[in-house]
Amino acid sequence: MNISRRHFLILLPAAAAAWDCVLAGTPEAAPNYTLTKHWWGMLVDISKCIGCGNCVRACATENGVPDGYFRTWVERYHVSDYDLPNPTVDSPDGGKNGFPPILGAGGKNFFVPKMCNHCADSPCTQVCPVGATFITPDGVVVVDKKYCIGCRYCIQACPYGCRFLNPKTQTAEKCTLCYHRITKGLTTACCEACPTGARQLADLKNPNDPIHAFLRTHSVQVLKPYMATGAKLFYNDLDGSVR
């Protein structure tokens, strides 16, 4: 194709305008949603979890999580009597297809659903060299797929093991707390699919959210509090053996 100098000069402003669009990016997707009015977290009630795996399947369906990788998963703990430091943990296929009958006799057994803790001081966002992962103003830790270079620093930095490298896109991936749903007024896919209400999405900035009454009246913990991550995945009835 031959472009004369005149055509080139005519095309130049058009190209500049197109590039300007690329720089400006897409406009706001949820116009009725104010970022600063929310602060998201989640409540997990271990005494209600029945280990059905609905959350794991729902998450994979909603977010197209590849097989063998998990944005959320369920672990089963078996703690022999008086041996809190050495629990036996299993999670066959992330609990996606439920759990086989119980491992050992005696002791105690329970399920622990796990996912990103959406830390307020998250170690994973601090190590990103390109600004591809960050905490949104409403408290959700997400990954910018277009900026991620797949260096895996964040995967190593997460103390909860909640990140993985998507084998197809070669970018870091994690729970987004179903950001595309919560910004539209829906709950997350895992909460939607949970039959017992063991998972509850919580908006800590909403004074009418039942989370506040729950936190006041129950003994609620977060995982690895000594890491000072500011985790916002609150566990009710959490056993001391859970790592």
Binding site: H78, V142, Y179, P195
Partner: protein, 157 residues
């Protein structure tokens, strides 16, 4: 002016620096997306891009808008807290176009045991059975209406 009579080489270095800085400023302005730094050290527009992902689970409110009779039945029974899509699967496509993608017929033999098969790690207060002994192979809905499981009369094949 005697002092600066050999300053030409300094000017050349200064010029090289000035050109370099100008080039840096221009390249940076062209390459860095405008929304970078809008909220923090990241591309502000990526928030909207992540929020634009399509929804797959419609949410129970969407089901209740049309299927109020079934919801009323469910709200009377033990499954009041179980959302429709917990059993019926993701159906946002069905809510957008109720005509075409019909929810699949469910197999209670698989579905019910997912939650109600006995497992030592399940809370003791949660109703559990050994499915093989409990029903001797019959499908659950022979006796239990899934939307109101303790109401035996409502059972349908």
């Amino acid at each position: 002016m005697n002092r600066f009579k050999d300053a030409e080489h300094l000017l050349r270095v200064a010029l090289v620096f000035a050109v370099g800085i100008l080039a840096f400023v221009i390249v940076r302005a062209v390459l860095v997306p405008r929304s970078f730094g809008e909220y923090g050290h990241y591309r502000g527009n990526s928030i909207a891009e992540i929020a634009a992902q399509p929804v797959v689970f419609a949410g129970h409110q969407a089901c209740e808008d049309c299927h109020s009779d079934i919801v009323a039945l469910k709200n009377k029974g033990k499954h009041v807290g179980v959302n429709c899509e917990a059993c019926h699967g993701a159906l946002a496509k069905h809510t957008e176009d109720p005509g075409s993608p019909q929810p699949p017929k469910l197999d209670t033999a698989i579905l019910c045991v997912r939650c109600h098969q006995v497992n030592g790690a399940r809370p003791k207060s949660f109703p559990q059975v050994v499915a093989e002994e409990h029903s001797s192979g019959l499908p659950c809905e022979t006796c239990h209406q899934p939307h109101d499981p303790l109401n035996d009369a409502g059972a349908k094949p």
